[in-house]
Amino acid sequence: MSEERDVHPDCRNASNPYHECTDYCFRVIAEAKLRMQLHHQSEVAQASGGSRREEAIPNELYPDEGTHDDGPRPEENSDSEPDQPEPAQENMEDGSFPKLSSRQKKWMELRAKMQEAKKRNQIEIANEKKRMEPPTESRGVSKQKWLEDRKKKIGKLLDANGLDMTKAYMLDTQEAAEEKYKKWDKDPAPFGWDVFNQRTLYNAYKKRTKNIEVDVEEYNRMKEADPEFYRDASSLQYGKAPKISEDKIDKMVQELKDRDAKRGSFSRRRKFNDEKDVDSINDRNEHFNKKIERAFGKYTLEIKNNLERGTALPD
């Protein structure tokens, strides 16, 4: 009820919450409008090829919508018709307040329509922009967002084909499927006592030998120099070794140092949790507690919770 006050939005007292427009208000408004219309008409007459725009205030709305689609145009055209009789009628407006209010209502309806059209236009602009621009890079954006985007895309494709989320594999091409199978066939990384198994040792050796440069000329030179180049295991030249240049030794030492440094980065240092409850009297005790937590933590969790609470939960 309070929203339906008799207040014309253009009334100069509209901001006053207790004001209710009376006939006097309408008269004032109409006069103000008349003045503005005459002012604008003179402007439009000066401008070249302006269409008949009688309403001053709708004029403001149009300039930024000029380039868009024909949404507001029909309103414009329909506008001009009621407008034409208006200047004629406005001269007689002293006695025609109901007419004004109906016209006012119609005017307000038109205005509402235009606002809505404007809003819908803006949404369309945004969508078109998204479609026209290339898709944004996935690097630099968080991985989660990328995953969500992918899921959405897959979801759309699935819906287009009428498939369920569980049948998502149907979308894969044959090459993609083969790659997936290869990945499944790969053995899991070894851990525990198996870390130095045959395969890993071989891989580690391969990795290290990759950095060695193969000097074929020097090889050939050595071949010529030494009659027994392809010597056997039980060769009699056992103790003899060629002179090794210093830079080779340097390289070897450097590589060993690099390996040492790399070894340090195999396990990372965990953050020290300050707020954790202290349950050790010592550093050794703390270390022991950590180890035991690692081993038995998942089994004793329930018991610990019961003790904390003071009572065991009924199971």
Partner: protein, 284 residues
Amino acid sequence: MRICGGAKNKNYGPIQITAEQIVGEARELEESVIHRHHRPPKQKINDGTELGEYRLRKRKEFEDLIRRVGWNVKVWVKYAEWEESQKDFDRARSVWERVLEVDYKNHRLWLKYAEFEMKNRFINHARNVWHRAITLLPRVDQLWYKYIHMENMLGNVVGVRRIFEMWMEWMPERHAWLSYIKFELKYKEIQHARDLFERFVLCHPTVASWIRYAKFEINNGDACSTRNVFERALDKVVAAEDDEEAHKFFVAFADFEASCNETHRAECIYQFALHHHVPKGINC
């Protein structure tokens, strides 16, 4: 009347103590002790005499420690590494030798000893250590790999070949053979590699080895030798009961024949395969 142990009032005391408090107090006590009373003051070493004293003290500590826990390899290693850091290589060597007397079967010790020699550029010493290690522990592949790598880094190709030959005499695992073959191929010794492959398939007469051999021939040899290899392998494959491997073999063979544009032969191979085995899901 009992004096002790007969508490009349069995209610909770007004002031209770928690486990956390006890633990916290224990910790604080510990820290205060460490920080204030029992930690020795930090000393700066100013000249040779002081250095000598410091070393003496440390050595005494270490020797006591190894007398106590001689079975623990870690303390020995720490001792040896400390001596290394003091640049006293003879002493370090003696420590290492003493450990090896205690436990020569521990391959990690050998590795660390050899690394110590290598890092400090004692190449011949290192060679000696490595040779002893591989003589005593021939089945520990890591020792072989690292010895070979050292000689490789030093560019001593002859030495590398010698070590590989010694290793192959022990008939090691496939990976060892493959690393030897890779080494030969690096220096483009194709004939050598071929001989090696022959020995390899003798040592490990599995279908996988034959496939490996065939692949090598495809890459480095001509069609004739490849076909030869495949045909020789055929008998072994038929004899073997392993369907999965046989399937792979037949596919490889047929692919090769197809790449030589001998489609007729490829068809024959497939027929033969289907005849003799029931492969699961052969994809032509």
